[in-house]
């Protein structure tokens, strides 16, 4: 009733914030800044998950909220920060392919995502249904970001942002996946980041830079 | 098949063998007259053969068996051909053995053997002649086949006796295609028998000759047989021409008795006399072609024959 409507409003605001942050990442220049934005996305996710848990009264949602807090707000940003400090990569900015066009593309994507999600979310029973479109938009934006970035680290951040979008979808559309799956996903994510860490160092020692244009030797010529 | 028909068969073959050189002699005489030279005696070819038969053979050192066998094969094929062609009678037992296509095949066999023999010694002129002979052959043979095909379309058979019978029984209409066929046939006959304008039987200018070039290494009885065979060949062609285009006088099926045979012989001789004169005339009037022009000449003959076929379809039944 009243409270639920309020919660729905807040959730929508949070989702909008998430989307906003994705745009910010899309236009963000410095790695450090991107990591911070990623952490903020985590925060948004954490809050929205809590709200969903409260409104739906599902206890396991609290767990996944906690998981989010641990993983996406604290652990991953911390790891990434340590990484880029160790690699001395925190300040290297990169030239995006022409920010305005990227933004325009992002805008189109958002509209597309909403159009796609509209019929589906209309049939959802949860109070959070309208966020599905936003989740899809976040995913696509993250994808776009990965395409436009040239640094290994930033690509990884885009990858993680995509995970965020997925998580939002999971919570918003369907009050979260079963716990086992959540855990599995989280584990995979963690391992993935560790492997990435290993990679960064290997790449670093081989190419002494994280620029991806070093990684363009394997091709059909 | 009765004994009498075998007798006639024998008579025909014997006659062919006998008068073939005479025909050659006659042509030579006509040519001499037309070119107002003093003519050689009519029986010169016989004397020639006799002389050759009693000479010693001078055989190239490494001539192979093929070389020595060839004259006999030539003579054999030509005699057999003479046995198949209805020059006097159509009721020939041997005519069932080979129809006109097989006849063309027989001529081809003779040609191939002669060419191989010419290549056997490995002299420059021999191989040259062999090549030219085969070249003339592979253009003349299809033309001849087309002529026969034409005749088949008219009378529905490839065996010459039935052709003659068919012609005699049919009301003798002149199908327009026959004219084309006849011209083509004459051209082929000239080419195949080494006459002007393709070849000159009486030349020995090596670079231009075809037939003679192949015989260079032959001597004595071998040469005699080859010469005899070639005059038989000429005779055979003449008889094919008669059977196809002017079969009057030939004793047909059922027309038995010595009378018909005598008539046939008389008719044959008459036709030969005329044909010989005509041939001599043609040879005297036309000049020999360069060897490179020969394909065009033969292609012309070939086209005429095919044209005859088409004409038959366009105008004829």
């Amino acid at each position: 009733m009243h409270t639920s409507q309020l919660i729905a409003e807040v959730l929508r605001v949070l989702a909008a914030g998430l989307l906003l942050i994705s745009f910010a990442m899309l236009s963000g220049r410095r790695t450090q800044q991107l990591i911070t934005l990623f952490a903020w996305q985590g925060v948004m996710l954490f809050l929205s998950t809590c709200l969903v848990a409260y409104s739906s009264g599902l206890t396991e949602m609290y767990y996944s909220a906690a998981l989010t807090l641990l993983l996406k707000v604290i652990a991953l940003p911390w790891i990434l920060n340590r990484l880029i400090k160790r690699l001395g990569a925190q300040w290297d900015s990169e030239q995006l392919v022409n920010v305005p066009t990227t933004m325009l593309a992002g805008l189109v994507l958002v509209i597309f995502a909403f159009g796609l999600a509209q019929p589906i979310s209309s049939m959802a029973t949860t109070i959070t249904r309208h966020t599905l479109g936003i989740a899809l938009a976040v995913i696509l934006l993250a994808f776009l970001m990965m395409i436009t970035r040239r640094k290994a680290v930033t690509q990884v951040i885009g990858f993680l942002a995509m995970e965020n979008g997925l998580f939002l979808a999971a919570t918003s559309a369907t009050y979260g996946m079963p716990m086992v799956i959540e855990l599995g996903i989280a584990l995979d994510l963690l391992v993935g980041v560790f492997i990435l860490g290993i990679f960064f160092f290997q790449i670093r020692e081989q190419f002494d830079s994280l620029d991806l244009h070093n990684l363009e030797s394997l091709k059909e010529d | 098949m009765r004994a009498v028909s075998f007798i006639r068969q024998f008579v025909e073959v014997a006659l062919a063998i006998a008068i073939a050189p005479l025909f050659t002699g006659w042509i030579a005489q006509c040519r001499a007259w037309l070119q107002n030279r003093s003519a050689p005696p009519l029986l010169l070819p016989y004397r020639m053969l006799r002389k050759l038969f009693f000479k010693d053979v001078a055989l190239a050192a490494d001539a192979s068996a093929l070389f020595r066998a060839t004259p006999y094969v030539l003579f054999g094929t030509m005699v057999l051909a003479a046995a198949i062609i209805p020059s006097l009678v159509t009721d020939l037992p041997l005519a069932r053995v080979a129809d006109s296509i097989a006849l063309v095949g027989l001529f081809a066999t003779a040609r191939v053997f002669l060419s191989l023999a010419a290549m056997d010694i490995g002299t420059a002129f021999g191989t040259l002649g062999a090549r030219r002979e085969m070249m003339v052959g592979f253009l003349a043979e299809p033309a001849l086949l087309m002529v026969l095909f034409n005749a088949f379309l008219l009378y529905g058979s490839t065996s010459l006796p039935s052709l003659v019978d068919g012609y005699r029984t049919h009301p003798s209409v002149i199908d327009p295609s026959v004219i084309f066929a006849a011209v083509a046939f004459v051209m082929v006959a000239l080419a195949e028998n080494a006459r002007i304008p393709i070849d000159n039987p009486s030349t020995h200018l090596e670079l231009t000759m075809i037939h003679e070039a192949m015989l260079l290494e032959y001597s004595a009885r071998h040469l005699a047989l080859v010469e005899w065979a070639s005059s038989l060949k000429l005779f055979n062609y003449a008889c094919i021409g008669f059977a196809l285009f002017l079969p009057w006088g030939i004793a047909t099926q059922g027309a038995d008795g010595a009378g018909a045979l005598l008539v046939a012989i008389a008719a044959l001789i008459g036709k030969l006399v005329i044909a010989g004169a005509a041939l001599a005339l043609i040879e005297s009037l036309s000049a020999k072609l360069r060897i490179f022009r020969a394909p065009e000449y033969l292609a012309m003959a070939f086209l005429l024959a095919v044209l005859g076929l088409l004409v038959h379809f366009l105008l004829g039944a």
Binding site: A173, M177, Q202 | -
Partner: protein, 483 residues
């Protein structure tokens, strides 16, 4: 019970090898664990033959005709590859391209990879399937970059990013699936993600959502299948990783990914009808086959060459599944089997060939029959088999696929004809000079033990002229299952 053993053994192996992977006996241990897994798998197979399909562990795991033969195949190829890798990796170590630490990593990751794939095959839970696929990716990433050369790092990086992104799409698809399913199945006990349950109610699932889900799942798992144009990681990873890894990637991972796609296809078809998913698969298949063939034409590196040939064949299989119907599905399953057997065998011989020649560049490999007849003939026969020359089994499946295509979608046959012809020309023109002709290097004193190669080829040959009734029965049942 078998399930626990089958899944436990590789896990145990991974743990043990993580400890002892650097010892002398590590390779034997690796092979031993694989053998044990194979035995367990065959026990399971026997049991399935006897009692038919079954569910385990609170329905989280299940065995049906579709996955049981893939389990057997995976265990078998895993074992033979372990056998092959024993001498091969020794030689690599002797050549100084690897050190014991890397070997430890290799061995434990190998077992982990086997575990992930068996899990993906055996689980009944679409979410778990996703987790397993991701795990398979993560475990192979480090294997691809085992040599730590620039090229191998680059390949591994691309592999990781592309497949990671892809798999993320797959996750979104899974979520959508769950989203659609929970309305009919409810949230209790995770039944909403169990394939068997979904399969039971697929008729009632929301078509729109499933259509959307299928797109994401197809793009996600399709990336791992190597469907063009999502295939770009595949040739690099195959060329730069160690040969045993290339063998299992081509022989097993692609199959498992395709298996995931097909599982999803079954559900989606049930909800939105045959047309849409079938057409999508056919289009992807044709595109991959043709593109793969033309890429084959331009290769110089032997392992890259056969990597592209894997793309081509995966395309053909996908196309066949897209055709649908008993014959085409049968052919596709058969093709999956023979392709993984043949392709792994080829990679074994290719590995030895490039080891003896000291290069992976095909211009550097000449006259193998002269150098070592087993390698030469192995490569020649393997290539002929993969090119669809009878009496090898690949021909059997291509025969069925082509004839069915001609009957049902004649317009596709020109593309198939082009793909097969170009691929044939491309591969054969490369293999012939490698096998035949003069070689400047002297004959090997003793040729390497190529038992796995010839065992594989013998099996493929047998499948071409005679198929055991039980196997045929599985194929048929699986084909029915897929519809």
């Amino acid at each position: 019970m078998e399930i626990l053993i089958i899944l436990g053994l590789p896990l145990l192996g991974a743990a043990l090898l993580a400890l002892f992977g650097a010892r002398r006996f590590a390779a034997e241990l690796n092979a031993g664990m694989s053998l044990a897994t194979l035995i367990a798998a065959s026990l399971l197979v026997v049991r399935v033959i006897r009692y038919g399909p079954m569910l385990f562990g609170r329905e989280q795991f299940f065995v049906d005709p579709f996955n049981v033969f893939l389990v057997a195949l995976t265990a078998f190829v895993g074992f033979t590859t372990a056998l092959f890798s024993r001498p091969y990796m020794r030689i690599e170590e002797a050549h100084g391209r690897l050190n014991p630490r890397r070997l430890r990593l290799y061995h434990s990751m190998y077992q982990l990879f086997m575990f992930a794939m068996l899990l993906a095959l055996l689980t009944n839970n679409m979410g778990l399937l996703w987790v397993a696929m991701e795990a398979a990716t993560l475990s192979t990433v480090l294997l691809v970059s085992l040599y730590r050369t620039r090229a191998s790092l680059e390949a591994a990086w691309k592999y990781f990013i592309l497949c990671g992104v892809g798999i993320a799409q797959a996750l979104f698809g899974t979520i959508l699936l769950y989203f659609a399913a929970e309305k009919t199945l409810g949230r209790e006990g995770m039944t909403a993600l169990l394939w068997t349950h979904l399969n039971a109610v697929k008729g009632q699932l929301e078509p729109r959502v499933l259509g959307l889900a299928f797109v994401f799942l197809l793009v996600g798992y399709g990336t791992k299948v190597g469907l063009a144009p999502l295939h770009n990681w595949l040739p690099d990873a195959h060329a730069e990783g160690p040969t045993p890894v290339s063998a299992v990637l081509s022989g097993l991972l692609l199959n498992v990914a395709l298996y995931a796609v097909i599982r999803c296809k079954v559900l989606v078809e049930g909800s939105i009808g045959h047309l849409l998913p079938g057409r999508m698969l056919m289009t992807f298949g044709l595109l991959s086959a043709v593109l793969g063939a033309f890429f084959i034409w331009r290769q110089r590196d032997i392992k890259r060459l056969f990597g592209y040939s894997s793309i081509e064949h995966m395309g053909i299989i996908t196309f066949a599944f897209g055709l649908g119907g008993p014959v085409a599905n049968f052919a596709a399953l058969l093709h999956m089997t023979v392709h993984s057997l043949t392709k792994s065998a080829i990679f074994f011989t290719a590995g030895h060939a490039s080891q003896t020649a000291g290069t992976q560049q095909m211009d550097g490999i000449r006259g193998l029959v002269g150098i070592s007849p087993p390698i030469g003939w192995g490569l020649m026969l393997g290539s002929l088999a993969i090119l669809g020359m009878p009496p090898f089994g690949v021909f059997a499946s291509e025969f069925l696929i082509l004839t069915t295509a001609m009957r049902e979608h004649p317009w596709t046959t020109p593309f198939l004809l082009i793909a097969l012809g170009v691929a044939f020309a491309g591969i054969f023109s490369r293999v012939q000079p490698m096998v035949f002709g003069e070689s400047d290097s002297p004959p090997l004193p003793h040729s390497p033990a190529l038992l796995p190669v010839f065992v594989h080829l013998a099996m493929v040959l047998t499948l071409g002229v005679y198929m055991p009734a039980a196997l045929a029965e599985w194929y048929r049942a699986a084909a029915r299952l897929i519809g």
